[in-house]
Amino acid sequence: MTPDDSFTSGVTRPAATQFNFNELIFEDRVHQCIYTEEAIFREEMRKVFGGVWVYLAHESQIPKNDDFVASKLGLRPIIVVRDSTGRIRALYNRCTHRGSTVCRQQQGSAKSFSCPYHGWSYFNSGKISGVPWPDGYADDFSDPKYNLAQVPRVQSYRGFIFGTLNPDMPPLKDYLGGVKKPLDEWLDRHPGGKLTFCDANRLKFNGNWKLLYDNSADGYHVIFSHRSLLAMENRLNEGDDEDKGMSYYKSSPDKAPFYVKVFENGHHYKDKRPAVDTSPGGLWAIEGPHPGMEHYEEIIREKLGDKAGSVLDIASSEPVNINIFPNLHILGNHVQVSQPVSLTETDTTWWGTAVIDDEDELHGCVDAVNALRMRTQESFPNFGELDDLMNFEQIQTGLAGVEDEWVYMHRGLGIPGRIKRDTDGYLIGPPTDEVFLRETMQVYKRLMMNEPNLVIEREIEATPD
């Protein structure tokens, strides 16, 4: 028996895969079954969600020791805790005894978790603290096998908490690789280089999780899928008003100065900043109308004069899409997290972010900036994302025509000089090209062709990397 066909305990697992992914994923196209086969979805929940670093939570959701927030690693229910010593852990929300969840709240603070079924209790480190009437057991409970299972490797990058069950994964910062740079730039435009979560727009769609990832750096769909949004944002324009929102897609985006860049491990980046005026006040000038806009702008301009533009830009959407495989997206001011629910059901939560201004870099305007940011962030989930999600659902519907086997992603492929490499060796293409999708599918293919050796941790004192 090889590790490839056994569970961690050595129990034989069903065959690792019945699919030959060499026949399903080509350079220019993928087979529809990767979106429609239940067995492939089940494999993804091990090989991708578990096999690579998966985003779990943000540190601002658990600011103090003993805070916790519910999450999932694939389909596994997880409690992300900052334990009583301050260490961040990702505990399996599963009683060691008979399997019940031990925590049924979404978020809160607790030094311990007690199973509602038979009362087994655990410290928030995962260590078992006691069971009712222990003299009914022949063994004692000092054996770590009774502790809650936990994700063996949990690491943060600048507030973003990730976990993997795969001991062979490189450290998180190496897994992120080149995508750290745009992520750093996105964070560093805010005072102190940090943000806090401030509730979310929570959406879902009846479609496979990959349909969302496939769209995440897609500049081809914008003026079609978001046609009503673009019309809406510009309906009040008059005279010399600048075109609002994503209007820069409207004419020949293939030749526009912005681009898509592809990093390692399926991460990619659509940088739209070269398409807009990024001098102070430039972002604010293309921000679509939103509640309170003129009121707070007037206050900030009166107070700050020439400095107002750069402060108003902090309330505006940053024109980037930063996509971290498989489930984290940074776009505008949002942190968008996708969560597979089933083969054909996906939750997508758009966490809002607020600025923390400890050093008064915003000159007393942080509350006004945040009041604006709440409203700018509600716009796209309400008036843009819903149309994308409908289109994803309709892809899932269309793919039920199973004899029509292929889904194409070859825009930009085979045209000399169109895709370039930057000085770091990363591929760069026009924003409407599907180069990001082709490269991600090759990463996905490699993952799906190998059964990772997934492990859990129960030894509380062990210090993961």
């Binding site: 979310a200 929570r202 959406l203 019309a231 003129e294 009121h295 707070y296 007037e298 962030q377 149309d387």
Partner: protein, 193 residues
């Protein structure tokens, strides 16, 4: 200077936000409940008219029930929260409601193509007085059934309408929609609740 709230948003500021938070705190008390059947009936008829217009997709007519500086608010937190520091499911001032209607009437709003059909039930309507005799708070329970593209779903919760007596009639100042699952992932909430 007079501002047209359909074009600019000057009224959504600290004062408006604070009055919103204050209006929606501690108003559902027995001693403030209105027992006058005529006034209760007036409130009921306003809410029923609103539901009727929305079910018939008469969105422009629906908006005439609202004052110019109005609000349509669907909190993402079960107790409403403070919209200055929390994202809402929807937080529409006059201009954004008009944006929403404009988009729904645009043939390229794919999330509403085909258009949803809706049937709204409103019940348990109770009205409460406020310090201002020309302002009432109305609580009701709703069940909005939606059919779209072969699929039926529903939204339920309670409405908190803040209404004002203006120019001889009652108009809606604020509509707060409290979904029982406001903090859960919702599928294609593109209709007006």
């Amino acid at each position: 200077m007079q501002h047209d709230p359909s074009r600019t948003s000057y009224y959504v500021g600290d004062h408006f936000y604070q009055s919103l938070v204050d209006s929606y705190a501690d108003w559902q008390t027995d001693d403030a409940e209105i027992t006058d059947p005529d006034l209760r009936d007036t409130c009921r008829m306003l809410l029923e008219k609103e539901a009727r217009l929305l079910d018939r997709n008469k969105l422009d007519d629906w908006l005439t029930l609202y004052v110019p500086e109005c609000l349509y608010w669907v909190p993402a937190t079960p107790h409403g929260g403070d919209p200055r520091t929390e994202i809402a499911v929807c937080f529409d001032d006059r201009r954004r409601i008009e944006d929403r209607i404009y988009r729904l009437q645009n043939e390229f709003a794919w999330s509403q193509r085909p258009l949803s059909r809706t049937a709204r039930l409103i019940t348990n309507i109770s009205a409460f007085s406020t310090k201002d005799p020309d302002t009432l708070m109305v609580r009701s329970t709703f069940l909005t059934n939606e059919f779209q593209a072969g699929d039926k779903r529903n939204y339920t919760g309670w409405y908190g309408h803040k209404i004002g007596f203006i120019d001889g009639g009652w108009k809606i100042l604020v509509k707060q929609v409290n979904l029982i699952d406001c903090d859960q992932n919702l599928r294609n909430l593109s209709i007006i609740l």
